[in-house]
Each structure stands twice: as structure tokens, then as C-alpha cells.
């Protein structure tokens, strides 16, 4: 399981950051996901996608444990403005655009951020996203349309 986890760490962290918009919570969320995955390794069905299984674990921990705690502590979402950001100047122009897009996505509600990530970055089909999020396909469609509509204002 440990060997399977390592190649997924960056993408798990990205998902955690998109959900929590806080670096420390993202780290905690990935760590908790790894522990839970090791604990439940015998529940993983060989031949199915490990990354999707890990995403489901991460999401469950976020919804049931960490988000609830952060909201109750009143400490969540404080660095929301710049949590989704990038460093470096490898390609300045590309990074400026990417930075603007991420900033805009960072201001969307959690449900939209998550749907946009799963479909546009992780390659989930609408049906797969609907199953992963336990929502109707129509809701996936409207979340993506609302998110894209928000991004059309970036000019």
C-alpha cells in the first residue's frame, strides 16, 4: 500500500488543498488519508483504480472529520485568498494566467471547486463525478457551467 500511495501524494494534496484552501489542513488531510488507506488496505479491490479509492477516502475524512473540526474551531478558510496559488516563473505569462484562474476557482463554493477539479484536472466523466460526489449528473453539469461562467469574467 505504501508503494501505491507515493505516486498519488501530489494529487491527493492538490485535492486536499482545493477542498480546505489551507496548507496545514491539506497536509493533515493527506496524512490521515494515508493512515486510513493502510488500515483499510484489505478493502481495496485489486484491479480497480487506487487513486480513485484514495480520493474517496480523502473526501470522506474531509467531510466527516477535518472540515467539521475546522468550522467548529472557527479557524478554517483563513488563508482562502491565496491558498490556491503558484510559485515560480518558469513561464511567466502562463503562470500569470494560471494564477488568475486558480484565484478565481479558489473563490468558488467548495462544491463547485471540487467538481471542477475532478472533471477538468482528474479526468472524471460527468457520470463518474456524479457517483463520486453522490449527486445527480444534472448537478455536476450546473456546477461546471456556473464555474465556467465565473471564469468568463477573467479578461
Amino acid at each position: 500500500m505504501r508503494a501505491g500511495l507515493e505516486p498519488c501524494l501530489a494529487r491527493l494534496w492538490r485535492y486536499a488543498l482545493v477542498l480546505s484552501r489551507a496548507n496545514d489542513a491539506a497536509d493533515d488531510l493527506v496524512q490521515a488519508t494515508c493512515v486510513r488507506a493502510i488500515e483499510r488496505a484489505d478493502q481495496f479491490v485489486p484491479g480497480t483504480r487506487l487513486d480513485r479509492w484514495l480520493f474517496a477516502i480523502l473526501r470522506s475524512i474531509w467531510l466527516n472529520e477535518i472540515r467539521a473540526r475546522k468550522i467548529r474551531e472557527g479557524g478554517g478558510f483563513v488563508d482562502a485568498d491565496d491558498a490556491l496559488s503558484i510559485d515560480g516563473a518558469r513561464d511567466i505569462e502562463m503562470n500569470i494566467l494560471a494564477g488568475q484562474v486558480l484565484k478565481e476557482i479558489g473563490q468558488l463554493p467548495e462544491a463547485q471547486r471540487e467538481t471542477v477539479l475532478l472533471v477538468y484536472a482528474e479526468g472524471y466523466s460527468y457520470a463518474e463525478a456524479a457517483a463520486a460526489l453522490s449527486i445527480p449528473i444534472g448537478t455536476v453539469m450546473s456546477r461546471l457551467a456556473t464555474a465556467r461562467a465565473a471564469l468568463t469574467k477573467l479578461k
Partner: protein
């Protein structure tokens, strides 16, 4: 143009529209210039999303995350032991979160303190939730020294301490479990001991950047507290014991941690 149009246009762009709706929408696009413009705008807006998310991957602290994955053997060993504790531990985390907010608000209201003063009142939050523990809460927890070390290494990473099982040995008490909480955003390590009857005594370390402060003893209801601050961390020993006993344990720990 409606929100429904946006939904259909985006589904068309994503190649997720069924054949009938696709055909109908393409026919409308041929004749409706405003719809075509909207299609273009939505398509352009979505084009950079994937690359933007890819850029985020480069920020991932992969080495740190990899180092934080615990050894599989340690997880499995701890698994059985924690099965019964998980819910209680989570409940305690939630309770301290609620109490933390409540205690700070209460202190600010009733004493006219600045909000910053609330940060000092983490002892009240710990006291209130220590009151919720019973003689049964931790009495079934009895980790061996190796497992204690695993639990403590997780705490050390969070509060920047160097706790080891031998430093935490206290006369008349047995180490039961170590776990993490937080108070107003600062990590709060908790080590639960039990006395021979199972009564809990807590040793807490709050990485709150407080200035150094000497040992002080307090009585809050039936609870005795002994606390001090050093090196950016505040320490607290708390339990339903005589005040002198709490201070004696605290002095022992102060010399070692």
C-alpha cells in the same frame, strides 16, 4: 440565453451531451449568434483550467508528505488498540473546539478582556473537557513502550518537542494514550495517564508561542492544574488529584521535557 443554455453549452464543450441534445444545440448554434458568442466565451474560460491545476501540483510538498506516511507495521499494531478510541478521540476534538470558542467568548465578555487574552485560556478548555473523561475512558489503553514511542513521535512532529516514553514516566501513573488536539489554531498535544483506579490525569503541551512563565498551581472545582511555559510552549498537568500531587508531577516533567 439562460442558465440552462450555459449548462448545455458546457456539456457540449466537454463532449458529454447525448446525441439528440447535441444535434439540437448545434442547429441552434448555426442560427443564433449570441449563443455562438457565449459558446466561445465558455470554451475560452475553461481552456486554462487543467493547466492551472497542473501548476498547483508542482507546489505539493511531496517529500514532507512521503516522510509523514507511518510504517505499515506501526499502523496495523495501533489499529486494534485505537478501534474503540477513535470515536471518543474525535468527540474530544470537537468538544475542545466548541469549548475553546465558548471559553474565549465568555472570557472576553465577562472580564472585558481583549480577544488575545482568550488565547491564554486554553487551560480552561482543557479543564472542561478533562471533566468529561471518566475512569473508563482510558483504562483499557495500555500500549507497550514501542507503541508509546510511535504515538509520541507523531506528537513531537506537531509541537516541536522531544518526548520519549522514559521522560514521561510518572510515579503512581500509567501512560494510556497520546493524541493530538488543537486550540485556536495552535497544535495541542495530549498525553493521558491513568492512576491505579483508572482515573485520568492529562499532560498537555500547547505550542502557542507564549512567553516563558514559572510553575503555577490552580484549583478549578475538583480539578488541580499545574502549568508553566518555556521555549514557546505551554505545559499543563491536570487531574482530579490534590494540588500538591499535580505540582509534584509537573515538576518532574518540567525537568525532563
Amino acid at each position: 440565453m439562460t442558465d440552462d443554455d450555459d449548462t448545455e453549452l458546457v456539456a457540449l464543450i466537454d463532449n458529454e451531451l447525448d446525441e439528440n441534445r447535441k444535434k439540437a444545440l448545434l442547429a441552434r448554434l448555426e442560427t443564433d449568434e449570441r449563443l455562438r458568442e457565449r459558446y466561445e466565451a465558455l470554451r475560452e474560460a475553461g481552456a486554462p483550467i487543467s493547466a492551472a491545476f497542473d501548476a498547483l501540483l508542482e507546489r505539493a510538498p511531496v517529500a514532507r508528505l512521503r516522510d509523514a506516511i507511518p510504517p505499515e507495521a506501526a499502523v496495523r499494531q495501533a489499529q486494534g488498540r485505537f478501534a474503540g478510541l477513535a470515536l471518543r478521540e474525535l468527540a474530544a476534538g470537537i468538544v475542545i473546539g466548541l469549548l475553546a470558542a465558548g471559553a474565549a467568548a465568555w472570557a472576553a465578555l465577562s472580564l472585558g478582556l481583549a480577544p488575545l487574552e482568550g488565547k491564554e485560556d486554553w487551560r480552561s478548555a482543557v479543564a472542561e473537557y478533562t471533566d468529561l473523561y471518566t475512569n473508563e475512558t482510558f483504562s483499557s489503553q495500555n500500549p507497550d513502550v514501542a507503541l508509546q514511542a510511535v504515538e509520541l513521535s507523531a506528537l513531537n512532529a506537531k509541537v516541536g518537542a522531544n518526548l520519549t516514553p522514559d521522560k514521561l514516566v510518572l510515579p503512581g501513573l500509567r501512560f494510556a494514550v497520546a493524541f493530538m488536539l488543537s486550540f485556536e489554531g495552535s497544535p495541542l498535544a495530549a498525553i493521558a495517564y491513568v492512576d491505579p483506579d483508572g482515573a485520568p490525569v492529562m499532560f498537555c503541551i500547547n505550542a502557542n508561542q507564549a512567553p516563558d512563565a514559572p510553575m503555577r498551581a490552580e484549583q478549578r472545582g475538583d480539578l488541580s492544574l499545574a502549568s508553566w511555559s518555556r521555549g514557546g510552549r505551554s505545559y499543563l498537568v491536570i487531574g482530579h488529584v490534590p494540588k500538591e500531587q499535580a505540582v509534584a508531577w509537573a515538576q518532574t516533567l518540567e525537568k525532563r521535557v
